[in-house]
Amino acid sequence: MAAAVPVLIGVMLIALFSAAWPAIQRFGARFFATSTWDPVAGNFGVLPFIYGTLVSSALALLIAVPLGLGVAIFLSELAPGWLRTPVGFFVELLAAIPSVVIGLWGIFVLVPWVRTALEPLLKSALGFLPLFSGPPLGIGMLTAGLILSIMVVPFIVAVSTEVMRAVPPAQREAARALGATGWETTRTAVLPYARSGIIGAVFLALARALGETMAVTMVIGNVPQIKISLFAPAYTIPAVIANEFTEATSDLYVAALIYAGLVLFIVTVAVNALARVLVNRAARGPSMIRE
């Protein structure tokens, strides 16, 4: 039974590969370099979707990593004992909320707020940057990044708190004994020690963000285009699969969507494997300080 898991991953790869074969044969590597998405003419290129997936995930990490690290430092270094359990519990609760519910909240609460408050503010303050140009629509890349950051932050918090707690107390005490303040202790003793685990946590979050489907689909606007402005609607690979799969009429259309899914599968498995190697190494502890 245990062997079922590695076997299943192999079967998934084979199944997706064979189902995507017509599209792989037809488009090959050109699939990733062209921006035409024309089901009627049977021309498929996923560049805008890849762009949307990468930019929305990067935006999510940009917001979630500093915040998540802040929470992790708070939980592992500062918070009094009675506060740790409830705060950790609530952060994990955030991870338990189904993504379709977060998407629902996104459509009816976050999008209007972004449209009427956040985007006008960004526009008036930083409007000279092409990143913040164009009409404030609410739906688009910025909102997708925000909602993704909400969804991945619990993973960053959980894993980095764990690896920071695995740092031996002797490390902290040594820094303290040398006269380091609280922040200096964290910066010089705890963070370097936990570094590989924290990087692993970020990769875990990245894999989640790349593959997150429902909430993103509901707020990103679903327009396959590459625009510099974060206010503009965009599209991601999971979103296009979710939206168009059941409506895909030709076999080539279905194969093209599965091809996109295969790429997502391979990328997330690779990112996850890398993350696990880093986290496992950090959780095991010593032998990692090389400087």
Binding site: V100, T186, M218, I258
Partner: protein, 267 residues
């Protein structure tokens, strides 16, 4: 530093509180008896409920359990009983990686595996997609719990001349049973709200659907369909559905945690 990290914590918790408050405020006013007992109404007409979707979700979860629980529990037991075996190390790593595979890819997998050969959407395909997602969670929690069973218990059984496989099945697993059930509940809470793997497997259904070989309704699918619809009454029902879904997920999740913390204390 204290102020900054404390601020981070508040910022991270703010969305959770906002989501729960909105959900409670909007959802409760939309909940009524009809919601739990009636089928969805015609498009654009007010009224109707999500009875079939709630039943469908329960059905899909049971199907997922049939697929995922045996593999997860037995696999996890193997990992705990033979922790150093090469297969165990590989499986542990693979389970962790599998945990991170996007749920939409699981849907594609079930589509290729079951929907394509059958030529139509079915509850079975949805159940398999969810069941595969259940495996890594159940496997890893089972492993942890079975490891907690004291060695003296195993040794007592082995000393009586009982073979290892029988010791595992009749002594170790029953000792760990409560913990394993907790692990299964945590896994179920995780998959109950999944939408993406059901979009093109279970597909959804506007009527009662008991036949697992036919398209089947599910609460998350219904919420999604209603949320992106143009009708106010459907939006209202989407909030009600979300409230029901979140209540189910959080109740299962929290009671599993509570049970787990009590079990640890008892030991």
């Amino acid at each position: 530093m204290a102020v900054v990290t404390c601020g981070c914590t508040l910022l991270v918790l703010a969305p959770l509180i906002l989501i729960l408050v909105f959900l409670a405020a909007t959802g409760i006013s939309a909940l009524n008896w009809e919601f739990f007992t009636r089928l969805p109404g015609a498009a654009g007409e007010p009224g109707g409920g999500m009875a079939n979707a709630i039943a469908g979700t329960l059905w899909l979860i049971s199907l997922a359990g049939v697929v995922g629980v045996p593999i997860g529990v037995l696999g996890g037991t193997f990992l705990a009983e033979y922790p150093a075996a090469r297969l165990s190390q590989m499986t542990r790593f693979a389970a962790d990686v599998m945990n991170g595979i996007p749920s939409i890819v699981m849907g594609l997998f079930a589509y290729v595996l079951i929907v394509l050969p059958m030529r139509h959407f079915s509850g079975l395909a949805g159940g398999v997609a969810l069941g595969v997602m259940l495996i890594p969670t159940v496997m890893r929690t089972t492993e942890e719990i079975v490891r907690l069973v004291p060695h003296s218990v195993r040794e007592a059984s082995l000393a009586l001349g009982i073979p290892k496989w029988k010791t595992t099945l009749r002594v170790v697993l029953p000792t760990a049973a409560a913990g394993i059930v907790t692990g299964i509940m945590v896994g179920v809470a995780r998959i109950a709200g999944e939408t993406a793997p059901l979009l093109f497997t279970a597909f959804g259904n506007r009527f009662w659907s008991w036949n697992v070989l036919r398209p089947m309704a599910a609460l998350p699918l219904q919420i999604f369909a209603y949320a992106i619809s143009p009708f106010d009454d459907w939006h209202r029902q989407a909030w009600a559905g979300a409230l029901v879904l979140v209540s189910i997920v959080l109740i299962v999740n929290i009671s599993a945690r509570y049970a787990a913390s009590r079990q640890v204390k008892l030991r």
